[in-house]
Each structure stands twice: as C-alpha cells, then as structure tokens.
Amino acid sequence: MNPIAQEMQNIAKELLTSGEVTAVIGWEKGTFWYQSTPVMITSAEEADKLIWDEFCQPNLSKYLLDYRLNEGKVAIFVKGCDARAFNRLLQDNQIERQKAYLIGIPCPGMKDHKQAALVEESAKDSVPLAKVCQSCRYPNPVVYDRLIGSEVTPRATEPDFSDVMALEAMTPDERYAFWQEQHTKCIRCYACRNACPACNCRNCIFSDSKSGWISKDVNTSENQFYAITRATHVAGRCVECGQCEMVCPSNIPIMLMNKKYIKDINDLFGKYDAGIDIDTPTPLGHYKLDDPEEFM
C-alpha cells in the first residue's frame, strides 16, 4: 500500500467519522489492472477501497454535479487537472465552492490505459504516460483544502503543440482525409461530452433532436459537425485533462482539436490557461480593442 493511498484512507476515515462530509469520492481498483475507477464511500469502513496508482486518471470533479442539491459537503480527491476542472465548474456557476472539500494530490502523471490494455500486467513499466500527462504544466492542484504529499515539478512549462503542428504541415486535402477517417469511426456515444468538465449544459443541443442543429443520422458529416461544434464550445475553457480522448471507444484524437484552439488562442489573444484563475473571463468571453485584425 503506497503512502499516498494510506493517507487518503486516513483522511477519508477522519472526514467521514467527524461528519464533516457526507461522502468521499476517490478511486478504487477496477476489473483489470489498468483500470482505477471512481468510487463513492459514505462510511468510514469502506475507506480501505480507496487506492492511488498510476491509472487513477478519471476526472472526479464532474461527479459533484450530481450532488449540488444535497445539503452536506462532498469530499473529492483532485489531481492537477481535476483541480482545474473544479475551477472550470466553479467559473460556470455549476457548483458551489463550500459544498466541496478538495483533497489535493500532486500528480506524477497517469499511464495511458489504452496502451496498458494491449500488454500484460508484468509489462506494466513499459506503458507510456498518457499524452496530456507527458507535457503537463499543472501537476500540482491549483485549488485544494488539504494537500497530500509534496509538490512535484511540472513536466513542461510550455504546452506541447508538436502534434498540432504536424497536422498543420499537411495539405488541406491530406488533413481533410485524416479527419474524414477519424470522424467516420465516431459512433456518437457522447462519452467525450459526458466526461468533459467543460461540457456542463443542462440538456445538450446534441441530445435534443428538436434543437434543429443536428439530425440523429450517424454519418461522417454529422459526426464532424458534432466534433467541431463541441471543440468550439469548449474553446478557451478546456482544461486539457484529456478525458475526452481517454474515454473515446473509437480512439479519435479529440485533444488535437482542443489543442489547436488553445494554440490559436495563445497566439492571437495572449497565453491563457483555463481553470487557473477563475476571475479573468475566458478568452471568448471578453475582447480587447486591439485584438489582431485580419478582416479589414
């Protein structure tokens, strides 16, 4: 049992017995060795379910949306990206700060469970870090009530746009072929939307066929409309937690589109990291008189 998991359990026991929180949300071991999935415990005895390993990448902040109605506090464990996701929900007025007790854990970077699924458990060490974790700039939670362990040095200071630039280098037709192939695979299961902390609408225009934006037909064009629109909706708000790519059953590189928007926003309107400072309005939520001008 590694020390962090031990301390997680102690804190959970302490919070639950003291009654400060009505529930604690953490991770428990899933069916396979590369799966650590969310669990909610409401009594101190269940605390030993909580674990901490290098597959705890599901983002717990969005579960708070299910508990915004009950009175008590809910404790959740937050890595760097989860904390940014929490700020995202806070900035979108979807949760109240005092209804959540955040236990921050500096994150060493989570492994890519899709690569892990292809190998045996014995080859655990050969599994690479998830793509977003390799160039993670905020491993230490930016907001927490309590911190376990000590801060870790970020693995990068500048975002890594190499994959975006690789695609930009292609000709328009090559890029179009690339995205056609990717969006043909999409089965519109909306896992990317449901896992994304920036997608917190009450009912989404895509699950409401009366909205008129999109028909229920599943073909490459409608899938592409969905993909581009979702990327545009989270532009300037995406906290780069990489959950959309993690949960996609068809392995579509969704983060490529989000990172393209982030790169453009940085170039055009100045470097901006979502979910860090909740007071500054999001890039598309305000404007400057001297924004770059290309449309004269």
């Binding site: 599901p58 896992a191 599943v218 068809s250």
Partner: protein
Amino acid sequence: MIVIDKNKLTDLLDALNQSYQVIVPAKSADLTQFMPYDAVKEKNAEIILNENTVLSPKWLFLPQSEGMYAFWAKNKKLEIVDLPSDLEKMRIVFPVRHCDVQGIACLDKVFLDERHVDGQYLEKREKTVVMALMCNNPKDSCFCASMGVDRAHANNTVADVQVYDLGSEYAFEALSDKGQQAVEAIKALGSEKTVAVPEVKEQKIKVNIEGLPEKLSGMFYDSIWDSFMFKCIGCGTCAFICPTCYCFDINNKIRGEEGVKLRTWDSCMFDEYMLMAGGHNPRPGKKERVRNRFLHKLEYFYENYQMMLCTGCGRCLRKCPMNVDIVKFINQANAK
C-alpha cells in the same frame, strides 16, 4: 469437415470474395470492427483473429443509421418511395466468435419474432452467411461460458458454418444449406477429414447465473443499485458496442419537400431516451438507467425469451470509461 491450412487464409478469403461480399474483423485507424474485405485489402488493414472487435458485428444486421423509406411531396401530395437495398451480393462474415453469434441470436429473437418480422432485418439475415469460429484463446475479459454460450458449438439457429481452430488448420463444418454452398466454394483448398472438437481453455472470469433472473425480479428497490449507479457517466458506449443491445429510435431527415425516415441506434443510458411529452422522464437519474440496463440484460429478456441478453463478450468490461462491470454486479447480486 473440410480442413484448410491456416496459411491459405488469404486464398480462402479471395475465393469467397468472388461470389460473396466477404466481411472480416479488422483493425484500421486504431479501431477494430467488422469491415468489408475489399476495404481491408485497400487499406491493408490487419485482420484480427485472436480477439473480439471493439464494435460488434451487430451493425451488419441493425446498422447504426438506416433509411427505412423515403418520402416527398409531389405537388402537395405525399409520395412514399421504397429505398433500394444496397445488398447486391450475398455477404459472408468470417470469423464470428460464439459470443457474437449468440448476440445475433438474441437480435433474431426480437426482430424475427413471429408476431412481427422486421423486413429489413430479415433481408440482411437471409443474405448473410455467418461462419462461427470456436475460439479457444479467450481474452481475460471473456465470460461467455458462464453466460450459457456453448464454447464448442455455436448457436445453430444463427451459425451457417462452424469453424474449428485446430492450431495450424481450420476445420469447416456446414450447418445449413447456405453454409453448405459456402463450404462448397472453398472445398478445393482443403481436404475432407473428420476431426474431433478441440477442447477449450478455461476462462478467467466465471460467474454464476443460476436462478439470477428470478432473484433479480425481487430486487427492484434493493440498495445494491446505489453503489453501482454512481460511476456511470450516462454515455452510450456500452449500448453501442454491445452485440445484443437493439434499442433504436425512428426520426426524419428532411430537405425541403423530400426526406428519409431513419432508424438509428439509441441507448437507454441517454436522458432523452425515456423523455416523454410534457417533460416527464420515468427514468430521470443514473440509478434508474443503470438498473434498467442490468435488469433488461439479466431479467426482463430472460422472462420473455428464456435467454440472457448478455453473451459474455466482455466488451463493456473493457470499454466502459468508468468500468461499470456487469460481472461484479452479478456476483454482488448473488451474494445478497
């Protein structure tokens, strides 16, 4: 039984491809699914024989989005137009693992029910030869044995040809006349031999479904659901990759005066699934939806068709983003 050497696989597929449209499980653009053999050759994708695909072969019979008929207004009068079927040649699917064959059997129960036979589904079933492969290298997520799937002999209401993997050779045994024609086409590649059914390796996951439906029928208000419902994020992954989920939604796609009536997959995990006029939703929360999914798979379907609606293919175990695990549920339900 016709026995054909494994290294003749491509010749076998080419042979079949003359008269049939061959469909094989393959991996392209980092996704494993059943694809036409021509597309596989064109993209030189890798054919997947040792595990089941992420997307089940369900789409061959119940496409994710299928036009039922077209309609248009000819000077203010409605005109219905049948859609041309896009199945010119007979299709042959090789290899289909027993869990997917069982899945198709479940779909047959629903779409070929004698009270109402679904024309489009029937046409696709009749025009497809299913070659079931007895797989003896199960993945660690497979538990079809525990779900009552015969590891040795595929469900013969669906499988037209039973194929056995003898290590370096395949043995083909025709089970239906459609199957017989298919075996005829490849007879030349191998020789006639009688072969014993190879025995099968143990599966890691075992689960006891004895008397489960009856037990579950009394557990609607049980507290087991609270712990299970929490993790689900309400996406449609499990429903869309599951070989047996058959729920669909009917809607229109209209362009001015003309349009197409569409049948598209739907998932009971979506909140709009049960949304009724006036805004009422009998299954508003995740708890009701997860409960409905498990009960439909393990109880309701059994009460109607004496067959589990879960064939133990293990896809939802692997692909559910939050690992809502049906096996864990069954074990906890049995323990209650």
